[in-house]
Structure formats: structure tokens, C-alpha cells
């Protein structure tokens, strides 16, 4: 079994209102100098055959039309 993390992000260029909201909220709390905030999601999984991960991402974990994914093993 390998412990794997898949990071899923909104594709570059697609409007990310969650990221924008966080970016606007941080200065209000006194955290200045923060730009390019994007909010995605993290999927953690134990897998017997990590070579299947790209197919899992393409078919289910991410929607390649709107999201990029990064597999961290």
C-alpha cells in the first residue's frame, strides 16, 4: 500500500471566486502581501497500484475540463 495525495486545483485562467474571497479576506485580518490565492481540494488515499492514479484522476477525482491535478506519492 502506498499513501498518495492528489492535489486538485481550478485550471489557470478560470475564474476562482473562492480564491478571490480568501485573497480579499486576508488583508482584513492584517495579513498583507498575499496574491494569487487559489482554493482547490486534497484527496488522500492508500492504493495498491499507484500506476492507476492518473486514470483515477481523469475519470473521477478531477474534471480535466476545469481542474488540474497533481499526484504526490
Amino acid at each position: 500500500m502506498s499513501r498518495v495525495r492528489v492535489l486538485i486545483r481550478p485550471k489557470a485562467g478560470i475564474l476562482d471566486p473562492q480564491g478571490q474571497t480568501v485573497e480579499r479576506a486576508l488583508p482584513a485580518l492584517g495579513f498583507e502581501g498575499v496574491t494569487n490565492v487559489h482554493v482547490g481540494r486534497l484527496v488522500e488515499l492508500d492504493v495498491e497500484d499507484p500506476s492507476q492514479l492518473p486514470a483515477m484522476c481523469e475519470k473521477l477525482l478531477a474534471n480535466p475540463l476545469i481542474e488540474d491535478y497533481e499526484i504526490q506519492s
Partner: protein, 220 residues
Amino acid sequence: MKFGVVRFPGTCDEVDAYLAASRVGDAEILWHADPDLKGVDAVIVPGGFSYGDHLRVGAIARFAPVMAEVERFAAGGGLVLGICNGFQVLCEAGLLPGALLPNTSLKFTCRQVDLEVVNASTSWTNATAVGDTLSIPAKHTTGRYYASDATLDELEANGQVVLRYAAGHNFNGSVRDIAGVSNKAGNVVGLMPHPEHAVDPLTGSADGLKLFASAAAVPA
């Protein structure tokens, strides 16, 4: 014309879709776990929160046993309508182009919207005319239609943009004001607003009935 309305766990608008379809034909509920369309002439994938919207809207529902049959049915020219969550499911399944993203407001919004008919020759809009305005309610959090510019140009060239939000009514931030699209053949249509909630003047508008009447007029 017999309509089948798919019910997933978490679907909540199947009864209104069933009642709307029953005004123009016969209707039956189809259970998500049964790989059987029961011989219906048209399939409606209704609104709601299939599988709790877990992972991504529509991402799990597209693999339900009934969906393999819906895909086969659509490929053979069968009439399929996706409403709201059903539209999201059809996009995830690849039966319709594009995807639905969270509203730019990030808020759930429920309001009446005016839709402009852009293509009146699909199986689900043939009882309307190009330029008609349909007043139909919309209620969703994840309804911002998105496709790449290249895809959008292709959709427009092919007449696959079926419905647009009228000026001032695009509350969710959809690209090019797109409210509904079709596949290339026009037998599969999806839209975010809810025509099944606008079938009786008693509730403000009966414009939504035109979509069901369109399908009912297609020879079975």
C-alpha cells in the same frame, strides 16, 4: 410519448418533472440502480443533489447503473433532458460539452429568470421560436456554465447554444450568458433553470411546459 424521470439518492425535483411530463404524455420514475429505461421514449435527468454532490456535482451520479443505459439511449438518438443537477450529470458524463462551476457569488440563489431561445430546432425546444423569452425559475449554487473559448466558438457555430440568460439575468456568471446547451444532434439538451417548476400560470409562468411539449411532439 412516455417520459422516464431518473431518481438518484439526493434527487429532489423528480416529482415536479414527472408531473410536468404527465401534462403532455405518460411518465414513469426510473431508479438509479436499475440499468433499465423501461422502454421510455424520452429521459429526464432532474434536479437535486445526487449522491450529496460529493466530490463534484454530478461526478458520482454519472457512474450510476442507469446512466450507462442513458448514454446508450442518447447515442442512438433518444431524447434526453438534463435539468440543473441533471445538466451537471450530463456534462460529467460527456453527453453535453462543458462543465458547471460555482456561481461567482458563491451563494445559493433562487430567482425567476428570463431565458432567450437561441435554437428552436432541438428536440426539447421545437415548440418555441428563436427569440422567444421564457420565464422560468432557477435555484442553484453551482450553475456557472464554462467551456473553453475554442469549444464555445464551436458550440455557437453548430447551434448548440440553445438558451441564453436575457440581459441582466445571468446571475451565476455563465460564459457568454449560456443557460442551456445541446449535443451536436440536438436530441440531448441541458439547462440550469427549472422548466418543470413553470408549468402552470397559478405559480407565475407556464413557459417551462414548452420544453416538455417540444419533446412530446417528436415522433416516438
